[in-house]
């Protein structure tokens, strides 16, 4: 597969960060958690806090890559009746308010496939989504997903764990655009007390194969994690469960949730200065 050289919002955002000597901070929010109106407010809060990009989840009934915190957020959204099409509409409205912030979707194959791949990626592209990561599609199953994404100008993002073989990383580098999602550890999503980072060889292999910038996720919940990740060679970090915890702690008070999210993003973003 050949990578097309289309300049995306990610490229522009990452270039600005490089010029400023900063790493990327990307918060994760579950769309529709706890309801669509609050979710719209939280997306704005993430931007107010200084997010360099935003990763959003489309809630799925069987999220095998997620730990209890993110799964609980999906359950809240599903219980509120939130549908994938509502999520895409929410993103389209948000895109109108925030024309430049890169937005990436993280979801599961069954939702992407459920009508047809082309239809899902086309609707994401029309809403102004920049990337899609399908958590249960590994590199070896990714070709149809990558092709459908690239056909409409959406960046396919793939996950590079520490145990991936060199052959897998090479195939990943050919198929992954915008950024490479590197995971800190084994297991599912969830906030950790301490990170264990030994990613030098992984980052080096990814660079050698020309993979897009490494963004580190899973367990990132404190400013010191951000500093450690950047020091270990990551270009940026994603923080999911820690953000979602701030939403779940403020269910029923959207403004308090927005303040908590904005202030967490601000605190984490401040740690991205190198």
């Amino acid at each position: 597969m050949s990578r097309e050289t289309v300049t995306t919002r990610y490229d522009r955002a990452f270039e600005r960060l490089r010029q400023r000597g900063e790493g990327a901070f990307i918060p994760f929010l579950m769309l529709g958690d706890p309801d669509l109106a609050t979710s719209a407010r939280l997306l704005r809060a993430a931007v107010e806090g200084g997010a360099d990009a935003i990763e959003v989840g489309i809630p799925f009934s069987d999220p095998i890559a997620d730990g209890p915190t993110v799964q609980a957020a999906a359950v809240r959204a599903l219980e509120a009746g939130v549908r994938p099409s509502d999520c895409i509409e929410l993103l389209a409205r948000f895109r109108a308010e925030a024309p430049e912030v890169p937005i990436g979707i993280l979801t599961y194959a069954n939702l992407v496939k459920h009508r047809d791949l082309a239809g899902f990626y086309a609707s994401a592209a029309a809403a102004g989504v920049d990337s899609v990561l399908v958590a249960d599609v590994p590199v070896k199953e990714s070709d149809p997903y990558v092709a459908a994404a690239r056909a409409v100008g959406v960046a396919p993002v793939l996950i590079a764990p520490l145990n991936a073989s060199e052959a897998t990383l090479q195939r990943l580098a050919e198929r992954c655009d915008a950024y490479t999602y590197c995971v800190t550890r084994k297991g599912v999503t969830g906030a950790d007390e301490q990170l264990r980072l030994g990613h030098g060889a992984l980052f080096e292999t990814l660079r050698r194969f020309g993979a897009p910038p490494a963004i580190l996720g899973f367990g990132i919940s404190k400013p010191e994690h951000v500093r450690d990740a950047l020091a270990a060679g990551a270009f940026g970090v994603v923080s999911g469960s820690a953000v979602v915890q701030r939403v779940s702690a403020n269910v029923g008070d959207p403004e308090a949730a927005a303040r908590a999210v904005a202030s967490f993003v601000r605190e984490m973003k401040a740690a991205t200065a190198r």
Partner: protein, 397 residues
């Protein structure tokens, strides 16, 4: 991986990337083991001396009421542990030990697979943890007790619908952090490649025995082989050997629960659509938004919204036919087999009996000769409490 893991358009390995090396290791180990006579010798030996194979093929003496219509039962209910699950738990247990894994995890619905895994864990001296939906823990208290008696840790899963699919999610999650020293002993022909192939191959022994036994008993192949389908391992086990015999109808019976026109059923192939669940591209019961549906069956072992990908292929290619039996039909068959033959089937198997009885009635009415083989995948002991509640509510305590 060396094999595509596809059955037509179905199958594959849809898992977080971190599990791919674990699946590749499993595939390598399996292909090596398959070519190693010492592995086959130990597996076959334990099937005979520990599990009690071969299981008999029993002709029903009273159930059909018509001497021209013969109904045979492949007696997996007589296997050690009380169900066909023992076959493949033994195979995977030996494979896990061969790979140097120290612990086993599994998920279970009715509890039969959990019991089988607990047995093999005890036999091989491997600590075993069983994930089970909290609702199923309640429905299948006897099996939970059995598992604990054999030293397994039973973990009730309270997320989602608290049934088999959620237990599977939880086991997969745990495996993503434990795969280095832990084997995930998936219980049916579902899940990511290579599980559907491995489980089918270890269950194939049912079909090999059944084919030889019916040839000996009748001097010919049966008109149809009938088996219940939840995930579909007992059905794949008996179907596989007959797939090349084009004149033998293969009939899978799904749980119709309260009826296929309601949303309380588990008829994945009949009412589902292609999708991706628990590592496989297969038929899935899902809503119009792509969310996986909660299912219903009187039988916890069939209460699953997915199905093995090879069944999806057998259906779409036309080689096998899939039908459904309701809770009531299964309960009726459960009682009829018990009364007429003195054999109490598992609720799962009662679904296959229920449909076979329809086929018997049709053949009898048409004055046709017929030979049917039903895979009696398990015995009903585990369902006694529930059966008593449903059939004799006045006397239950």
């Amino acid at each position: 991986m060396q094999q595509s893991g596809r059955f037509g358009a179905f199958g594959g390995a849809y898992v977080p990337e971190i599990l791919v090396p674990a699946l590749e290791q499993l595939e390598r180990a399996y292909l090596e083991a398959r070519g190693d006579p010492s592995f086959a010798a130990e597996f076959d030996g334990l099937l005979t001396t520990y599990a009690g194979r071969p299981t008999p093929l029993t002709l029903c003496r009273n159930l059909t009421g018509d001497p021209r219509v013969k109904l045979y039962l492949k007696r997996e209910d007589l296997l050690h542990g009380g169900a066909h699950k023992t076959n493949q738990a033994l195979g995977q247990g030996l494979l896990a030990r061969r790979m140097g894994k120290r612990r086993l995890i599994a998920e279970t619905g009715a509890g039969q697979h959990g019991v089988a895994t607990a047995m093999i864990g005890a036999l091989l001296g491997m600590p075993t943890r069983i994930y089970m939906g909290a609702k199923d823990v309640e429905r299948q208290r006897l099996n939970v007790f059995r598992m604990r008696l054999m030293g397994a840790e039973v973990v009730p899963v309270t997320s989602g619908s608290q049934t088999l699919k959620d237990a599977l999610n939880e086991a997969l999650r745990y495996w993503t952090e434990s795969y280095e020293d832990t084997h995930y002993l998936i219980g049916t022909v579902a899940g990511p490649h290579p599980f559907p192939t491995i489980v089918r191959d270890f269950q194939w022994v049912i079909g090999r025995e059944a084919r030889a036994q019916i040839l000996q008993a009748e001097g010919r192949l049966p008109d149809a082989v009938v088996a219940c389908v939840g995930g579909g391992s007992n059905a794949m086990g008996i179907f596989s050997e007959f797939i090349p015999d084009k004149d033998v109808a293969l009939v899978g019976v799904e749980p119709a629960g309260h009826g296929l026109s309601t949303d309380k059923h588990g008829a994945t192939l009949l009412k589902g659509r292609p999708g991706v669940l628990h590592g496989s591209e297969t038929y899935i019961l899902q809503d119009e938004q792509g969310q996986v549906a909660e299912t219903h069956s009187v039988s916890a072992g069939l209460d699953y919204p997915g199905v093995g990908p090879e069944h999806a292929h057998l259906m779409t290619s036309g080689r096998a036919t899939y039908v459904a039996a309701t809770d009531d039909e299964a309960l009726d068959a459960f009682q009829r087999l018990s009364r007429s033959e003195g054999i109490i089937p598992a609720f799962e198997s009662a679904h296959a009996i229920a449909h076979a009885l329809k086929m018997v009635a049709e053949a009898a009415q048409a004055g046709r000769e017929a030979v049917l083989v039903v895979n009696l995948s398990g015995r009903g002991d585990k369902d006694m409490e529930q059966a008593q509640r449903l059939l004799d509510p006045g006397r239950s305590t």
